[in-house]
């Protein structure tokens, strides 16, 4: 198997088809969320759509999030007078059915509330906002704990910029790498970096693109500046300019290049998930007496 074939197999392994259990679950939750919000804000008729990696075609099995945007009309106050009010009211509307994690800056992460799925992460971020005008293109979203409480953005521009970049495959693999190395670089910043660094390498094969990306990271001199295509002058992505994040990114990129040189691509992305997974797990059942077993201590 060539390097390119191997990487394409990894991509295939990570892809989530519309028939996959994960996507079906996401769609079901999206329906529920839509129902809840349209009922709660009946008079306002919010716009509810997919965003994030699902819309951008960069979703990977190991790290997928479904962004469900919930945008109100620019002159609508049914969901709240201020962006903060809208954010909190949308959160409240969802708390009956979901455990709402409101620690993210501009979105509400949904987790399970029942006993069977308590705190299970559904990989859904609801992003409340309000259109800036009646054209329904740009939108204001609320930012918690940020210098500016209001962020202007444009979902369509983001989706188009990534989806139509011609680099969605390499973006997906870089996301996988970011996830496995726990680099904690924001996905959106990473996507923009890939596009920024590989603009003139779109015609190269996938393995060469990845190598070029990591080489470019290693060779970075000074701060990386990436611009938000929805609001280049207005939106500040400089949180990525923190020194420690960039140093870690550079050192990890270097060690990745070393791994490829010394051991090949499988050192980076590992073996493919086996189709015999179910059979192997069944075999484990019969051997369970030799393993340590989970327990629940008192006062847990």
């Amino acid at each position: 198997m060539s390097d390119l074939e191997y990487l394409l197999s990894i991509l295939q392994d990570q892809s989530l088809s519309n028939e996959s259990d994960e996507i079906k679950m996401l769609r079901n939750h999206r329906k529920d969320v839509e129902g809840i919000l349209k009922t709660a804000f009946e008079e306002s008729i919010p716009t509810i759509r997919y965003g994030g990696s699902y819309a951008k075609n960069t979703m990977i099995r190991e790290h997928y999030d479904l962004d469900v945007i919930c945008y109100f009309k620019h002159d609508d106050t049914g969901a709240g007078d201020t962006l903060k009010d809208i954010f909190n009211n949308v959160a409240e509307a969802l708390t009956d059915k979901y455990f709402v994690d409101d620690n993210k800056r501009s979105s509400l992460r949904l987790r399970g509330k029942g006993q069977e799925d308590f705190q299970v992460d559904f990989h859904i971020d609801v992003v409340p906002g309000r259109f800036t005008d009646d054209k329904k293109e740009d939108v204001f979203i609320y930012q918690q704990s940020a210098e500016k409480e209001r962020l202007k953005t444009n979902l369509e521009k983001h989706v188009t910029h990534i989806r139509d970049s011609g680099l969605t495959d390499v973006i997906s693999l870089v996301k996988l790498w970011n996830t496995r190395r726990v680099l904690e670089v924001k996905t959106f910043v990473l996507e923009l970096m890939v596009i920024e660094l590989l603009t003139s390498h779109k015609s190269k094969p996938l393995d060469k693109q990845l190598l070029k990306f990591w080489q470019s990271i290693v060779e970075l001199d000074g701060n990386v500046t990436v611009e938000d295509p929805a609001n280049p002058s207005g939106n500040d992505l400089s949180e990525f300019n923190y020194q420690t994040q960039q140093l870690l990114l550079k050192s990890t990129a270097q060690s990745t290049l070393d791994q490829i040189e010394n051991g090949g691509w499988k050192e980076v992305f590992g073996e493919l998930t086996s189709d015999d997974k179910a059979r192997v797990i069944e075999g484990i059942v019969g051997q369970s007496s030799s393993r340590t077993k989970p327990w629940v201590p008192p006062a847990l």
Binding site: V120, I281, W295
Partner: protein, 223 residues
Amino acid sequence: MGTPSTVISKKLQKVLGDITEDYPDLRITRTTESVEITGSLPIIVSGTVLDRFLIEIQVDPSYPRKIPRVYELGGRIPKSLHRHTSPKTGEACVCLIDQWSWVASKCPTVLEFINGPVKDFFLWQLCFIQYGKDRCGAWAHERNGRLEFYQAILDTDDPGTIRKFLLHLSEPKYKANWLCYCGSGRKACKCHKSSIISFRSKISPQVARSALQDIKELIRASK
């Protein structure tokens, strides 16, 4: 807490083992209070990667005396008792305290802890995910789990025998002249001496004392 650092001393490296060699997707960070290991852990059986879990392991400097804290960060495992994860803290209960005392001698490095109890915990979770129920046999909750453990290692169902056994293990020193726990009526030194000495090397007196308390409570409750 102190500034996290990725600099690992030789002494600490010895305790950790070559984790990043076996698991290149795990990252080690040292703080003043602990060592944190975070990243994507592949669950490999017979060369097959069954799945991966995003984890964090907090290793106390007193390892292996204190079992490391393990957390599943990806939100795939419900935080519930029947999945052996604390609803309050999210901590995964990878191992019975007595079983940990038993295996800790076989896990001198954290790498062996990951290859042993941590891997076993996630294998159990994968079984649960596949079958929708416990087919790999977790220990019962709380005290009953401890009773099950001693029943298994002594091959007896009798809580009274287990209580006497734990009395032997609870003492700071081996009591050769005490009656053997098995009920033979003979002294320990003439009966299950080697067995008691062997178990004492695996289960610390502190762990045995707390197990003894729990077993006594269970006996009391059953009357």
